[in-house]
């Protein structure tokens, strides 16, 4: 263990903090009603961060610093870069949407998003219970404020309230679990926790209780059933731009802390948390898919679909620890990582298209608002088609390969029954995705819903996003190998 302090390892976070503060000050001086400068600077910061992380990754920068509080490894680089891209795309999609809804009177949207991103990066790179919690709170506080950004909107305020109360509860769970783990092992550093757990010199009872609370807290943050109640309300109630801010990149961070806590820190207790994840996964698949069927609100439907996809990610996570198959771990966690990344990619485009079709005074949030989209705009209809079939898991779209990877990990781990259950629920899921395609393609357009012309950069990003879903589906090998490699070199198993 290195006790020395190496600032270079945390360069992206330091850079983001400086840039975020600078943008905050510049924004105060800016009088532009649309906050163009702030927007451009934010995107430039994200681009700079991407370059920094790419260079670090390329140079093989890896290690622990600040007394083990902070870890930099390929997994962190990969997840961070994905988060930058997700946040960047979110802001591009949301720009016009936020503008016509008076959300840009101050530049808070951008600055808060950057601080939420900082919190996510700390979570992704956390090496100890303390930094996990710090990152989580930094992210959550920024997100609470973001949801409430439309102060005069009752629904959004309600969503913010719900998210705050339930989020605080989840944080409490997590913290309680952490305290028990700390009490049982005497360490905050995950590596040391792992060593103590392995040695068996612990109070098993307290430790297992701790795990229960940790898993519950993580399930809250990931949005897995039965801790999913906030997801539909918050997704629906938040302004769509904010829905995307909290529905895309934070998932990656939540995934990262799940991996770091359960796999890195509490690997020795896998026999305890595996069955918990199993229950969470099956419940998420069931509740997510079955409830999504009856939704008429597109955002709410996507929220339930998120829950079901979380179930799949959990299935990938739980098939890593197999007796006598050490090689299974990197494949299983790699599959879960691949699932998460591609799911975020799909989510970005799904909410992106909602924002693209909304305009002043009109939220395109009911599934019926998409009626006859093919007549109005074949290109957007095609993107919706790709998205929905990808979410349903139909090849050759990327969602299929994500499901395949997880199923493969499951069968490899001997959970054939779980694989069959997962498959049957994706059949249920296919129904409501198909319904969206039906509305878009088969139904006649409702009159006077001509979409407004949108800035070309927004359309361009959406087109790239949609095309990626197909391209990554036809050629999934590269990203999949990348995920497995990142896991392999980060978990050191």
């Amino acid at each position: 263990m290195e006790s020395n302090i190496n600032f270079a390892l945390a360069l992206p976070e330091i850079l983001l903090l400086v840039l975020g503060l600078a943008i905050l000050i510049i924004d105060v001086l800016s009088r532009h009603p649309e906050r163009k400068t702030t927007f451009m600077l934010t995107l430039a910061s994200l681009a700079a961060l991407t370059v920094v992380s790419l260079v670090q990754w390329h140079d093989g920068v890896q290690g622990r610093t600040f007394d083990g509080l902070y870890v930099t490894d390929p997994l962190a680089h990969l997840l961070k870069i994905a988060s930058y891209i997700a946040v960047g795309a979110t802001l591009v999609y949301g720009r016009l949407y936020a503008q016509v809804r008076n959300m840009l009177r101050g530049g808070e949207l951008y600055v808060l998003t950057l601080f939420a991103l900082l919190g996510q990066m700390v979570m992704i790179s956390s090496g100890s219970l303390l930094s996990i919690y710090l990152g989580l709170e930094l992210m959550s506080l920024a997100l609470y404020a973001l949801i409430a950004l439309r102060r005069d909107d009752a629904v959004a305020t309600e969503a913010a309230m719900k998210y705050f109360v339930l989020g605080a509860l989840a944080s409490g769970f997590l913290l309680y679990g952490m305290s028990m783990v700390y009490g049982a092992t005497g360490h905050l550093d995950l590596q040391q926790v792992a060593q103590v757990v392995q040695s068996g010199n612990t109070q098993q009872m307290a430790l297992v209780f701790g795990v229960v609370f940790l898993v519950a807290g993580l399930a809250f943050k990931l949005g897995a059933a039965p801790f999913h109640m906030w997801v539909p309300d918050v997704y629906q109630g938040s302004p769509t731009a904010v829905t995307l801010i909290l529905g895309a990149a934070p998932k990656l961070a939540a995934f990262a802390i799940t991996l770091r806590l359960l796999v890195d820190g509490l690997h020795g207790l896998a026999a305890d948390w595996q069955p918990m994840l199993m229950i969470l996964a099956v419940l998420s698949l069931a509740i997510g898919n079955l409830t999504a069927i009856v939704q008429s609100n597109f955002k709410r439907m996507l929220a339930y679909s998120t829950i079901s996809h979380t179930g799949f990610v959990l299935l990938g996570l739980l098939s890593g620890v197999v007796e006598g198959k050490p090689g299974a771990a990197s494949m299983a966690y790699g599959s879960a990582l691949f699932y998460m990344l591609t799911y975020v990619l799909t989510t970005l485009a799904s909410f992106g298209i909602i924002m693209l079709l909304s305009r002043q005074g009109f939220e395109c949030e009911h599934i019926d608002d998409l009626k006859g989209l093919n007549r109005r705009s074949p290109w957007r209809a095609a993107i919706v088609l790709l998205l929905m079939f990808s979410l349903a898991g139909i090849p050759p779209l990327v969602g299929f390969y994500a499901k395949l990877a997880v199923l493969q990990a499951l069968v490899e781990a001997g959970h054939v029954t779980l694989a069959v259950v997962a498959v049957l629920f994706s059949l249920v899921g296919a129904f409501y995705y198909l319904r969206v395609v039906k509305v878009v393609y088969f139904d006649e357009p409702v009159a006077e819903t001509e979409p407004v012309s949108t800035p070309c950069c927004q359309r361009g990003v959406l087109s790239i996003n949609g095309a990626l879903i197909l391209i990554l589906g036809v050629l999934p090998g590269g990203l999949m190998a990348l995920c497995v490699q990142a896991i392999q070199s980060s978990l050191g198993q």
């Binding site: 493969q408 694989a419 198909l434 395609v437 393609y441 090998g477 497995v484």
Partner: protein, 500 residues
């Protein structure tokens, strides 16, 4: 082996056969404009023709003397799971590649001036579908096969749902979900096979992998879920009449001519060689289901009052012959079944085209709305009678060859099964000819019929080409059986050896 290597030169004909139509489909989508349908149609026809032309070398360069895969292409696709882009054809799959490309030309022509809304999307859907279906027949990697197999659902769902009849939404959903249910179980079976074969998706490796009886049984059932739905076998055939009735003419033609064959092909490529012991022990069940399809569905077809539904049920009955042929495990049976698959592609396709011709004029598929069509459309009725004869298995048409071979094989296997199967000829004659009698002959039924115009040049050409194919195959089936003979023998030898 040497000869085959010489014959299957290194030029990637199969890749072209898959991707030429797909690329043209995307081009049509990108360039086609609904206010200038002429350009779209022209481009689509060029695409379909080009797609057919690149399959011709597969026939001319094919080596009949070997059961090995030919025109093999292999490249790594998803390294993490050892998935390869592995293509190749043998005597079983070769004709289906050609048939698919051929039917695509017919479909493009059949939709020529009939489809007036969103022409480019219509044509593109069929071109992309064509490439995907060729991919199913050419894939030698399990995951590649699955990818193509499932991907065909997307264009077909759109075709039925957008250009279909009044109940199209219901039919499209039913079609999609029914098929998806079956194939998802197959996916689990594939992953299981990947696991037990030591991390390989190679179909040829799977065929050699030793398997215990219970795994074989489970795999067989999981595969059956996908293929039985697709064929379709009784009792999971109920999606087919809905899909056929609601689909536009082109959609019905592709469904009947090619898509049903994907399932039957799956039995030959997967079920039989991978799980031979389970296949043998479940043969009784399969034969029973096939005979139910042949007899019961044949009876159901007789009482239909909707022409498309009648032909749809007759398809189920004919596909019953195909599965019957597979599971009696002799050369005549299997070869007859494959011949029947090809023949059914021509005959049922042609039947749907004929009904399409009538529907375009009268906008009704009800038999009762017609009568005495021969008086106003003599040229049409000539074709209609010919194809109906073929549908009922009249000698000298392609329909006869396959059914006769399967019945021969069945008698060889067990006289009573052969006898029951032979009733299909009577039932086929009943429903086909009775429909022709009510639609075409007799006095002119009403004023709408009186105003019907006979075939135009385009329709005459399409039906003429189909008629040539039906007659050629009926009179001289040797080119078809020669190609498949060695491969079928090899398959039967493989299936005869236990894997336990």
């Amino acid at each position: 082996m040497m000869a085959s290597e010489m014959a299957s030169n290194n030029f990637p004909w199969l890749t072209l056969a898959i991707f030429v139509p797909i690329v043209f489909g995307l081009l049509v989508l990108a360039l086609g404009r609904d206010d200038r349908p002429g350009l779209t149609r022209g481009l689509s026809l060029i695409g379909a023709l080009a797609g057919f032309v690149v399959t011709i070398p597969l026939y001319t360069g094919f080596d009949n003397t070997t059961a090995a895969m030919q025109f093999v292409e292999k490249a790594s696709w998803i390294e993490a799971f050892n998935v390869n882009y592995h293509l190749g054809i043998d005597g079983i799959s070769m004709w289906f590649v050609l048939l698919t490309a051929f039917i695509t030309i017919i479909v493009v022509l059949a939709g020529w001036e009939v489809i007036t809304s969103r022409v480019s999307q219509y044509m593109a859907a069929f071109l992309i579908l064509s490439g995907l279906m060729v991919g199913v027949f050419a894939a030698l990697d399990g995951l590649l096969f699955y990818t193509f197999f499932e991907a065909t659902l997307i264009p077909m769902y759109i075709i039925v749902g957008v250009w279909g009849g009044p109940n199209r939404v219901y039919a499209a959903f039913k079609f999609f979900l029914y098929t998806l249910m079956g194939s998802l179980l197959t996916l689990v079976a594939f992953i299981y096979l990947w696991n037990v074969s030591g991390g390989s998706f190679d179909i040829l490796t799977w065929q050699q992998t030793k398997l215990g009886y219970t795994p074989q049984l489970l795999i067989f059932i999981a595969l059956l879920a996908a293929f039985a739905v697709k064929v379709p076998m009784w009792p999971v055939h109920t999606w087919l009449p809905d899909a056929h009735v609601e689909a536009p003419t082109g959609g019905s033609v592709v469904l009947a001519a090619i898509m049903l064959k994907l399932g039957a092909y799956g039995f030959l490529r997967f079920s039989l060689p991978i799980a031979p012991d389970a296949s043998h022990s479940l043969a009784g069940l399969m034969i029973t289901l096939s005979l139910i399809a042949v007899i019961y569905i044949g009876l159901v077809a007789i009482v239909q009052d909707d022409m498309k539904k009648l032909v749809a049920y007759s398809s189920v009955a004919h596909m019953g012959f195909v599965t019957l042929g597979f599971f009696i495990f002799n050369t005549a049976g299997v070869e007859g079944a494959i011949v029947q698959m090809i023949s059914h592609g021509f005959v049922s396709g042609a039947m749907f085209l004929c009904i399409g011709v009538l529907y375009d004029r009268m906008h009704s598929r009800r038999i009762a709305d017609y009568g005495g069509v021969i008086n106003v459309m003599p040229r049409f009725v000539t074709f209609f009678v010919l194809f109906s004869m073929a549908n009922s298995g009249l000698p000298a048409t392609s329909g006869f060859v396959g059914e006769f071979m399967v019945i021969m094989g069945a008698v060889e296997h067990n006289f009573w099964i052969g006898l029951l199967a032979a009733t299909a000829l009577i039932l086929g004659a009943s429903y086909s000819l009775w429909m022709v009698k009510r639609v075409a002959f007799g006095d002119i039924a009403n004023d709408h019929v009186r105003e019907l115009a006979d075939l135009n040049r385009r329709e005459f050409f399409i039906l003429g080409v189909m008629a040539i194919a039906v007659l050629y195959m009926g009179i001289y089936p040797k080119p078809f059986t020669d190609v498949m003979h060695v491969s079928v023998e090899a398959l039967l030898q493989h299936v005869a050896v236990s894997k336990l």
